[in-house]
């Protein structure tokens, strides 16, 4: 992510990350910096090998201070001197959960989404499930174009009618049947083979709750899964 043309390459800027002052390379995206410091935030439409697309909005973080804060998609956002970032504020967590709720309602069969729901402590899905098989993250399109250099698939339609297809909806000669699109798809993958819940949400694997976030406005640490501060040892398996 080329940014901050004023800063020569190699020079670092200082940012405030969850209250700590850290160094950051202004040529990195905010997500890259956050991940570099070991903070885990959910991403879905992002892949290290592909151009950021910024559409799932799960990677949102809160920037700014006082009452002038806003949410931004960190995978697309540049880094600059003095940037104040909070990766787990109440507002961020609430937003991520609702977005994930929308996504799971669209594709309840995705293991990736179910795992993420467990990690994010999503407790209910308030929408009718649609049992669709695509969340339009566009990973396959970028994979096909950027890594396989085939450009065999793309988006068609608009709004809720948007879908992934080949040019003119016809069998494409560009497609070499390499399967890269299926490899990268977060939905095509099989649902886990463990006990199947009959609810939209599975949440079988992990279930803990960062109660510090509601109390302090921010989560206070970044253990995944969240552990012992609040819950008794008997709750942590």
């Amino acid at each position: 992510m080329s940014q901050n043309s004023q800063t020569p390459r190699g020079e670092m800027v200082k940012i405030m990350l969850n209250g700590a002052e850290v160094q950051a390379d202004p040529y990195w995206s905010l997500l890259e910096v956050i991940q570099f410091y070991g903070i885990d935030i959910p991403t879905l439409c992002h892949d290290e090998g592909l151009t950021p697309y910024g559409v799932c909005r799960l990677c949102v973080v809160e920037i700014g201070s006082g009452d002038k804060t806003k949410l931004v998609a960190s995978c697309m956002h540049p880094v600059w001197e003095g940037l104040e970032v909070r990766t787990h504020s109440n507002r961020v967590i609430k937003t991520r959960k609702t977005i994930l709720e929308l996504l799971i309602a669209r594709c309840p069969s995705s293991k990736k989404l179910q795992d993420m729901a467990a990690l994010l402590e999503l407790k209910e899905v308030r929408f009718e499930p649609l049992n669709d098989d695509c969340i339009l993250c566009g990973l396959c399109v970028r994979m096909c174009e950027e890594q396989m250099v085939a450009k065999a698939i793309g988006f068609a339609g608009r709004g809720t009618d948007r879908y992934i297809t080949t040019p003119f909806d016809m069998n494409s000669e560009e497609c070499r049947k390499c399967g890269a699109c299926m490899y990268i798809c977060p939905v095509c993958e099989l649902r886990c083979q463990g006990p199947q819940a009959d609810t939209v949400l599975c949440s079988g694997c992990i279930n803990t709750e960062p109660v510090c976030a509601p109390d302090y406005g921010d989560a206070m640490c970044f253990m995944v899964p969240c552990l012992s501060c609040v819950k008794g040892p008997e709750d942590v398996k």
């Binding site: 931004v72 998609a73 937003t95 977005i99 339009l136 709004g159 809720t160 948007r162």
Partner: protein
């Protein structure tokens, strides 16, 4: 005509003016969108033919102009030099106008406008209440010029601002003048125009672009169309000045594809300006080069969003992208680009000619100048109005707009286009400026104003706009695509009697996510219609959910019709008209309506002359 210097422009202007007889009668027929729909071109032809028949062709001019604003009364014609205002014209009226007004210098009273309040006829445009309280700095010129004539534009002082700029102002002086004027963008966001120019000017890069946004996709809005159709040179002049200030030599006008006349007029204006040496190389002998291309819009509402517009100009799908790096740094083809709205550009020559101090004296603390609004919905005087910022909603809706038809009560006004909020009666004295509208949960947007009366169901209104936005969403980002879909589902459930009180919290959650996490302005502002109606008309939502009633009697699933035996005279009209055979009864005996058979078409309610059909 080729103008090679600033002085020559003034000489040409004097020449044009000297050649014009100010007392020569001229009939300006409005050719705006509203009048066009009312056969104004036939009226114009009738004028031309009648004048020829009377042998007056050399003595009377006829011109077809851009929108005069008072669409409600169309077709309209203004008779210069007296500025007599004739309205509601048909071709049969034309011989009388020529005979009486042009030849005998008398008015045709039946075609004049009646000021109902004062109970008298008014002769000139300026006396019509609709116009009297407006400040038509931008639109006022529409009736004075033929949009196909660059001479007409020059005659009313056109291109003098450009001459002033190229004749001695440094680019930075121009930027400062615009900054000091306090003008903010008229296309939606209300960003200070001078600051945008400055950022683009200061951005790194040899090639910079200036772009005019004429995509105008809001349903019911036609202010940009009317400027581009009626006075295209004013937009060009603004753009050339902007390009000089910013340091750009290339520009684009992105015009909505459904506006063929606007496309034609701007293309013609560009051709004329090029021939006159006002566009192209070495403009007015100053050494400054600038040229413009016209592009047709991509056909979607979202193409008006700045990054989607630029993608569309590049030949890509018109989808927005993240704007964390501003388009003033990296816009069209990743080069610094300055996008402004049609009306913003049209304001520039005014500011340069009259000075920033003059301009900033109009309006409020935070919003300067005038704003054009399209006044539609349940309002007597439909049309385009231009008023100084800070005028109250009451003045616009009642004094200029003439209030609500059929003596109904005013309920709310939605400002700012489909993603604006609904402002209730209690806030009718709100001064209209950018910040005040935002404070109450709406926005200036591009200047749409939809007036609603007591018969409007606010839940239904919210549902309507959410569905519009859902269909116009590009579908790229999750909050907007999935969120609007779900919001639409919930609102439909409520209007059809399946709503639950928890749904109101869910709508609230979804609204916050849309506002906070959507990629572009469409999703970010989409919750406004819902949030504002929920805030000001929560009782209506609750009535739908708890009592299964639609207080305004709009949501068909929630209304029942019945016959009030006390009022029913047994005339039998409803019985005859009911398509579902749901009404029975003997003549002169009270009739009975079978709710089980009723399909809720409302015909009985409409036909009953005795107020005996009840709608609840």
């Amino acid at each position: 005509m080729k103008v090679t210097s600033v002085n020559e422009l003034e000489a040409i202007r004097s020449e044009i003016l000297a050649g014009k007889d100010q007392d020569k009668p001229c009939i300006a027929v409005c050719g705006g969108p509203g009048c066009l729909a009312n056969q104004c071109l036939e009226v114009r032809d009738a004028f031309v033919n009648e004048i020829a028949a009377k042998g007056l062709t050399d003595k009377v001019d006829v011109r077809t102009t851009g929108c005069h604003g008072f669409c409600e009364c169309g077709p309209i014609a203004l008779i210069y030099p007296q500025e007599i205002f004739y309205q509601g014209l048909s071709i049969d009226d034309i011989p009388e106008i020529i005979e009486e007004t042009i030849i005998n210098n008398k008015t045709v009273d039946r075609l004049l406008y009646t000021d109902d309040e004062a109970g008298q006829l008014v002769e000139t445009e300026g006396e019509v209440p609709f116009y009297k309280q407006q400040m038509r700095l931008i639109l006022g010129n529409n009736s004075k010029i033929d949009p196909h004539s660059i001479e007409d534009y020059i005659a009313i002082g056109g291109y003098s601002a450009l001459a002033k700029v190229l004749g001695g102002m440094q680019p930075m002086d121009v930027v400062d003048e615009i900054k000091n004027s306090g003008i903010r963008g008229r296309g939606g966001g209300g960003f200070p125009t001078g600051r945008k120019w400055e950022s683009t000017r200061n951005a790194e890069g040899d090639i910079k672009y200036v772009i005019c946004n004429a995509d105008e996709g809001d349903p019911g809005a036609f202010m940009d169309r009317s400027i581009l159709e009626g006075n295209p040179h004013s937009v060009l002049e603004g753009m050339i000045i902007g390009a000089y200030a910013i340091g750009s030599n290339e520009g684009y006008v992105y015009v909505r594809n459904e506006y063929p006349l606007a496309l034609k007029n701007i293309n013609l204006a560009i051709k004329q300006a090029r021939e006159a040496g006002l566009l192209g190389d070495n403009i007015l002998g100053s050494g400054f080069n600038f040229d413009l291309k016209v592009n047709r819009g991509g056909g979607a509402f979202v193409c008006g969003e700045s990054t989607a517009l630029m993608a569309s100009l590049e030949g890509k799908p018109g989808e927005p992208r993240a704007k964390y790096i501003h388009t003033s740094d990296k816009g069209l083809w990743d080069r610094p680009s300055n996008l402004n709205n049609v009306e913003t550009w049209a304001n520039i020559p005014l500011i340069i000619n009259n000075g920033a101090d003059w301009y900033s004296a109009i309006g409020t603390e935070s919003s300067k100048g005038t704003k054009v609004f399209s006044l539609v919905g349940k309002i007597n005087n439909t049309g385009l109005v231009e008023v100084p910022m800070g005028m109250t909603l009451r003045e616009i809706i009642f004094d200029i707009g003439g209030g609500i038809p059929d003596n109904k009560a005013f309920k709310a006004v939605q400002t700012g286009g489909p993603s604006g909020g609904c402002i209730p009666e209690s806030l009718i004295d709100l001064p209209v400026d950018y910040d005040r509208l935002t404070e109450v949960g709406s926005m200036m947007g591009s200047g749409g104003m939809i007036v609603m009366d007591e018969d409007t169901c606010m839940v239904d209104v919210a549902r309507y706009f959410i569905n519009f936005l859902m269909e116009e969403s590009c579908g790229k980002c999750v909050p907007c695509r999935e969120g609007l879909l779900r919001m639409g589902e919930i609102l439909t459930d409520i209007t059809e009697g399946r709503g639950r009180m928890e749904d109101l919290d869910l709508i609230q959650d979804l609204s916050e996510v849309l506002r906070d996490a959507s990629l572009c302005g469409l999703g970010q502002t989409a919750p406004n219609p819902v949030m504002s109606t929920l805030k000001y008309f929560r009782n209506e939502y609750e009535a739908h959910i708890k009592d299964h009633k639609c207080p305004a009697g709009v949501c068909t699933e929630l209304i029942t019709y019945s016959i009030d035996a006390g009022n029913c005279t047994g005339c039998g009209l409803c019985l005859k008209k009911c398509p579902a055979e749901a009404i029975t009864g003997e003549t002169k005996q009270p009739h009975v309506l079978d709710a089980g058979k009723c399909i809720k078409c409302g015909i009985c309610y409409d036909v009953c002359k005795f107020d005996a059909v009840r709608k609840e």
